[in-house]
Symmetry: C2
Subunit: 158 residues, 2 copies
DNA sequence: GCTGAAAAGCATCGCCT
DNA sequence: AGGCGATGCTTTTCAGC
C-alpha cells in the first residue's frame, strides 16, 4: 500500500484493470482467459496491483432506491472561515453522518461538496437544515439529482 | 433485473450487502461465515440480490493518481434552455467523453453536475473550455477537489 | 429455507522454461 | 517474466430435513 513511484504498468496490467473495474467478482480463470494469460501469472499480477495500492479494493454496487434511499443529492456548503480548525471540524461532522457518502474539499477556500442520500423529501429537508445550522456554515446550496445519465466506475484506462 | 416492489430484505440480506459493499471479492465461504450461514444458502441469497438488481455489479476501485489522472473535479454546467432535446443533446455529449465519469441532471432546470478526471492542469483547462464552448452551454463552474475526506461506497445499511 | 455430502471448478504453489 | 501440473479450497448442485 505505498503511494509511489509509477510502478510501470504494461498493456496486460491495463487490460486487467479494465476488466476488474467492470466486473470485480470475475474469477481469476475468467480474467486470465480475457487477457490471454494462464491463471498463475494473471493472479500474480492482480496481487501486485493490490499490494501496490493501484487496486484499492472491490465493492458491490448496491441500488440505493432498492434499499429505501429514494433521494440522492449534492450539497455545496460554504463555511464562514478557511481556518484549518474550522475546516477540520466541518469534515469531522460531515464524515460522521451516515447519509453523507462523499465529502470533498473544494479549491478556492471554505467550500465543500457533499454527496448525500435521503429516505424521502422530509429526510432531505432535515439533512439540509442540519447542514445549514451546523457550526460555521454560511450557506448551503442543494443540488438534487433527478436523473443520472452516467455513473462510471473508476477512471478511463488506455 | 427488474426495478420492483420492495423485495423484502431480512437482516441477513442486509448483512450480506454490508459485507459485499465493503469487500466485493470476498469468497462465498468467508461471506457465509460472517453472516452465520453455511455456503449454499448464502450463495442463493447473493444470487437473488444480483438477479433482483439490488446488487447492480462489482467493481475494482482503482487509484486514479496511480493511472495518471492527477486531478478530479466537478463541473456545474448551466444550459440555455430546459427543452428536452437540448438536455438530451448535452447528456449525449457528456456521456461520450471518457473524462466525464458521472453526469447528473439537477432539479430546477437546465443544470448538470459532472464529475471529471484530468491528467494535469492543462488537460483540466482544456476540458473546461470544451464544456464552456459546447452547444447550449451558458456557464460552467468548476469545483476542483483538493481533498476527499470521505468517499464511501454505496449507501448506509441498517 | 436450511444442512451436508459430493462433483466440478478455482486459487495457489513449486518448479521449469 | 509466463506456463504446467499438483494440491487444497471454493463453488455449486442435489438429496433430505
Amino acid at each position: 500500500m505505498n503511494r509511489e513511484p509509477e510502478p510501470d504498468l504494461d498493456s496486460v496490467d491495463l487490460h486487467i484493470l479494465t476488466e476488474l473495474q467492470q466486473d470485480g467478482r470475475m474469477t481469476n480463470v475468467e480474467l486470465a482467459r480475457r487477457v490471454n494469460l494462464s491463471a498463475p501469472p494473471c493472479l500474480r499480477r492482480v496481487r501486485r496491483l493490490e499490494e501496490t495500492g493501484i487496486i484499492r479494493g472491490y465493492h458491490a454496487d448496491v441500488d440505493p432506491v432498492a434499499l429505501g434511499w429514494e433521494i440522492t443529492f449534492f450539497a455545496l456548503v460554504g463555511l464562514e472561515s478557511q481556518k484549518q480548525a474550522i475546516l477540520e471540524a466541518f469534515e469531522v461532522l460531515a464524515t460522521t453522518w451516515p447519509e453523507v457518502r462523499e465529502c470533498h474539499m473544494i479549491r478556492g477556500g471554505g467550500d465543500f461538496l457533499l454527496r448525500l442520500v435521503a429516505r424521502d423529501t422530509a429526510h432531505e429537508n432535515e439533512l439540509t437544515s442540519r447542514l445549514t445550522n451546523a457550526p460555521s456554515v454560511l450557506r448551503v446550496q442543494t443540488l438534487q439529482t433527478i436523473r443520472t445519465a452516467k455513473d462510471a466506475a473508476g477512471v478511463p484506462i488506455g
